[in-house]
Structures are given as structure tokens and as C-alpha cells.
């Protein structure tokens, strides 16, 4: 109980002090995870849109696989990316291991299936609503996917927020491929793991509260943007 109280005091102190190390860690966390979300959106949303409307043999298997990959353990993704990026691995020549780039790659692999799977579900429901209209207007696949992505943008924002949540909260993958190097690859979650291992539980928990606070801020911003957007759309 005492530790919990101490944690909140620590969190408050961290949030109000703008400690330079903390700011650096928070910014790096956001950079890595937002970049991963952006790349996952770039690949996952069109993939989800296409899977929503395409009909081909084995489609169910592809969708089931994608859904299953939402549950990929971060540590496993971290290990795979490590083996790929290690100097002894096939992509070692890139020299990406223990850099933020490696962390983006790992988080991208972690959340792209989630973005694709969730957007596929959301857009398929939408597609069923509009299918007849699309047919009567003879819209091509590309046009349909574009329209679905546009019309479903509010639901897709939730999908992207879910992806962001998985990315910013995971520690298993980034600690392996990033190495938790101070001032280079240390992010919120790896810093929390480090403080836990030093036995400084209030500081670890305090950092956790800061992380939660930042995610809350980002989600509030997204909600605000969504309200604004729907106001503009509906005259």
C-alpha cells in the first residue's frame, strides 16, 4: 500500500518535473510506436479492405491466420526480428540491430496483423451495406476499397488506436531488438522493466502511470478529432 502511494507521488513528480531523461524516453516511445502504427496502417488498412471484398479460394484460411496473428507473443516477434537483423542473420548487413529502426520493424510486425484483421471485419460489415450500390454503379475493386476506407474512417481510427495500444505497451520485442540502451533505445516499457529489476518499484510504477497518462492524452485527442470530423461531415 505504501509503495502504491509512493508510486503516485513519484508519477506526479515525474509528470511535473519534465525531467530531461524522461522526456527523451517518452518522445522515443512515441516516435517508435507512432511510426509502427503509421506503417501498419499503410499496409494493414488496404490489406484489410481488400480482404473484406475479395472472394478467392482459401480466403477463410487467410483471415483465420490473420486473426490468429493478433495473438503473436511480442517475445517471439522480438526473437524473429533479432535473428533476421543479427550480424549472423540474413539482414545483418543493414546494421539495424539495437537501433530504434529495429524496434519499429518489430512493432510493425506485431500490430500489422491486428490492423489488417480488425479493419477487415469493420469494412466487411460496411461492404455488405453498400454492396448493391457498388454493383449498380459498377465500381472497380480499387474504388470500392477506397470508398470503404473513407466511409469507415471512424471505425478504422479505433483499429489504429488498438494497434497503437499494443505497440506502446509491449516490452518483450523492443527489449530484445533494441537492447534497452540508455539514450538510444530506451523506451517507457523497457525503462519500467529496468527499474523493476533494480527493485525500485515506486519509480517503475510511477513510469507506468506516466505511460498511461500519455496514452489517455492521445486517445482524448483522437476522440476530439473524431467529434470535430463528424461535425464537419454532417452539415
Amino acid at each position: 500500500m505504501e509503495s502504491l502511494l509512493q508510486a503516485f507521488v513519484t508519477a506526479f513528480r515525474l509528470l511535473t518535473s519534465f525531467d530531461a531523461d524522461l522526456v527523451e524516453i517518452v518522445l522515443l516511445s512515441l516516435r517508435v510506436s507512432l511510426m509502427a502504427v503509421f506503417l501498419a496502417a499503410l499496409v494493414g488498412l488496404p490489406l484489410g479492405g481488400w480482404l473484406a471484398i475479395a472472394r478467392f479460394p482459401g480466403r477463410r484460411i487467410v483471415i483465420a491466420t490473420l486473426n490468429a496473428m493478433m495473438g503473436l507473443p511480442p517475445v517471439v516477434v522480438g526473437l524473429i526480428v533479432y535473428l533476421l537483423l543479427s550480424r549472423a542473420g540474413p539482414l545483418g548487413w543493414l546494421g539495424w540491430l539495437f537501433t530504434p529502426t529495429a524496434m519499429v520493424v518489430a512493432q510493425f510486425l506485431l500490430i500489422m496483423p491486428l490492423v489488417a484483421a480488425l479493419s477487415r471485419q469493420a469494412l466487411e460489415d460496411l461492404f455488405e451495406e453498400y454492396d448493391a450500390l457498388f454493383r449498380s454503379l459498377r465500381v472497380g475493386t480499387l474504388g470500392v476499397v477506397q470508398t470503404l476506407l473513407y466511409e469507415g474512417r471512424h471505425r478504422l481510427l479505433t483499429t489504429l488506436l488498438a494497434g497503437y495500444g499494443r505497440a506502446i505497451a509491449e516490452v518483450g520485442a523492443v527489449i530484445i531488438v533494441g537492447g534497452n540502451i540508455a539514450h538510444v533505445t530506451r523506451v517507457m516499457t523497457t525503462a519500467i522493466a529496468l527499474e523493476t529489476s533494480k527493485g525500485d518499484l515506486p519509480l517503475a510504477l510511477g513510469l507506468g502511470i506516466v505511460l498511461l497518462f500519455i496514452s489517455l492524452l492521445l486517445n482524448a485527442l483522437a476522440a476530439l478529432g473524431q467529434t470535430r470530423a463528424s461535425e464537419t461531415v454532417t452539415p
Binding site: 518522445l27 522515443l28 516516435r31 517508435v32 507512432l34 511510426m35 502504427v37 503509421f38 496502417a41 543479427s86 550480424r87 549472423a88 542473420g89 545483418g92 546494421g95 540491430l97 539495437f98 537501433t99 530504434p100 529502426t101 519499429v104 453498400y130 450500390l133 454503379l137 465500381v139 474504388g143 477506397q146 470508398t147 473513407y150 466511409e151 474512417r153 537492447g179 534497452n180 540502451i181 540508455a182 538510444v184 529496468l194 523493476t196 529489476s197 533494480k198 527493485g199 525500485d200 518499484l201 478529432g225 470530423a229 464537419t232 461531415v233 454532417t234
Partner: protein, 288 residues
């Protein structure tokens, strides 16, 4: 939803807002991903040197002397050796003599330089259920713990500390692996996580003094066994062989090793204290 789908290519202000957001995220991300180009080497080291604060103390001094950044990846000795074997580090600072010698003999490392030492201790709950407090023979202490079947938490992670612990069990003619899951519990985690577990369970644990002194969540734990010469914990530093991995930054890494072994580096190690206690004793040069 109003008015049905727009079938023309949408290009409203909202789309533009989203596009702007995406572009700014990309630039923001790219700026962060482009790592500063200051010269640096990667050091694979153990949690004991990093968690104790030693590296935070001495690396800035090296940076000042050389302009070279040292990026520390702190893992167990076993994992550090594997990273180096794959060529993912330039220098090693580890503490398991046997596997270090094998690493060099196999051609992955250039040479093993003894650097410093500290010692291992056994910590246990204040009430000392096994009654081993003050026992000076570590073998006797371990065999008592095993015979009394009191909870003992082990790293179980192939680290230098874990290997040292296993050697002492062997010397005490006990095989705790048979009891794994009962009184002998293997966390498979780092030193800190293992100490957290031991503190919460009121169990005994085998730990290096550096991590212990810097560790904050001790709860009921105290030092119970200390001082047996077999508890000595020597660290060494090894350059990863550039003949195996051409990208190894041998020049900067060798400069780091030379500095560590120099009077300046050895003094920096010897000067490091936590709560007034010396944590690591330099080994590379005789005291002047």
C-alpha cells in the same frame, strides 16, 4: 452516417487533415529513427555491472577521454556471449571464466583481460529458517539449505551468477535441480527480478554484492553468508574478434579496453561507491 457513400474520390478537408497528420508522423518518426552519427561501440555486459550503477559512473569518463560513446546492452553472461558470437557487440564485459576462455579458444574473442572483481553473497530472510547466518563455508551453508529444504530462489538463466551458483552446489554435493519447483525455485530471470521474488517469498538467494547494494526492494532480506574465497566473482573484458566479424569496431573497442586497463580506468572502477561501499576491486594493475 448520412447521405450514403461518396463514390467520387474523397478529398475533403478531413482527408487533408489526415494526410497532414500522417506526413508529420512520418517526419517525426524519421527524425527519431535517424540515429546520431557520433562514433560508438556496443558493449555486451551483464546486469550486475549495469544495475549497480558502475557503467553509468565510468562510461562518461571514457567518453570524455576518447569522444567514443559506449552503448550498453545489459543481459546475462550467457546471452552476452551469444550476442558477441553472432557479431552483435564489439566488446564483452562478463564474469564466467570458463565460458570466456572457451569463447576466446573458439576464435570469437581476441584475448581475455582480467578487469576487476567483486564477490557473491547469499542473502536470506531475517528469521533465517535454515540457520546459516555467519557460516563461513559456503558449501556447508548450501548443503544445510538443501537438507532443511528451505526456499531458495535461483536465477536459472545461464548467467554468470547462475553458473557460479551451480558450481557451488556441485562442490557441496547437492543437486537442487531434482527439487526444482519445490523448495528450489528457478526464476529464469535477471538478478533484480530474482531478488524481487526472493524478497516476496522470504527465500534465500545467491547474488553478486554490486546488485545487492544497489537493490532497493529488500523487504526482509539480509546478507547471511559472505567471505568464502570461493565466492570471488572476477570480471574480464574481451574484444570480439574482427577476423570473425569484419564490422567489429576493433580500433575504438580496443581503445576502450586499453582505457579500462589503464591507471585512469582502474581508478574510475575503484572510486565507484554505493552508500560509501566499494563495489568492484580493480584487478588489472597493482596499486601504486
Amino acid at each position: 452516417m448520412t447521405g450514403g457513400p461518396r463514390l467520387r474520390r474523397p478529398c475533403s478537408s478531413i482527408t487533408r487533415t489526415w494526410a497532414a497528420l500522417f506526413v508529420s508522423i512520418t517526419l517525426f518518426g524519421a527524425a527519431g529513427v535517424a540515429v546520431a552519427d557520433a562514433p560508438y561501440i556496443t558493449l555486451a555486459s551483464t546486469t550486475s555491472t549495469d544495475n549497480s550503477g558502475l557503467l553509468d559512473e565510468i562510461l562518461p569518463k571514457f567518453k570524455q577521454a576518447s569522444g567514443v560513446d559506449v552503448r550498453v546492452v545489459a543481459v546475462g553472461t550467457g546471452q552476452a556471449l551469444r550476442l558477441a558470437r553472432n557479431g552483435d557487440a564489439d566488446v564483452l564485459m562478463v564474469h564466467d571464466r570458463k565460458s570466456e576462455e572457451k569463447f576466446v579458444a573458439d576464435g570469437f574473442g581476441v584475448k581475455r583481460h582480467p578487469l576487476m572483481h567483486n564477490d557473491f553473497i547469499i542473502v536470506g530472510p531475517r528469521d533465517d529458517a535454515a540457520g546459516v547466518r555467519g557460516v563461513s563455508d559456503v558449501g556447508q551453508a548450501l548443503s544445510t539449505i538443501a537438507d532443511e529444504k528451505v526456499p531458495f530462489v535461483s536465477r536459472g538463466d545461464d548467467s554468470g551468477t547462475h553458473k557460479a551458483e551451480l558450481r557451488l552446489w556441485t562442490a557441496a554435493q547437492r543437486d537442487p535441480s531434482e527439487a526444482s519447483g519445490t523448495w528450489y525455485r528457478e526464476t529464469g530471470s535477471g538478478m533484480g527480478a530474482t531478488l524481487n521474488t526472493a524478497a516476496a517469498m522470504g527465500a534465500y538467494a545467491f547474488v553478486d554484492r554490486g546488485t545487492w547494494l544497489a537493490f532497493k526492494n529488500r523487504l526482509d532480506l539480509e546478507i547471511v553468508v559472505v567471505g568464502d574465497p570461493r565466492l570471488m566473482n572476477p570480471y574480464s573484458v574481451i574484444l570480439v574478434n574482427p577476423e570473425r566479424h569484419a564490422h567489429v569496431k576493433a580500433r575504438e573497442a580496443q581503445r576502450f579496453i586499453d582505457w579500462l586497463l589503464s591507471p585512469a580506468g582502474q581508478k574510475a572502477i575503484g572510486d565507484f561507491r554505493v552508500n560509501g561501499e566499494v563495489l568492484f576491486v580493480p584487478d588489472a594493475i597493482a596499486a601504486p
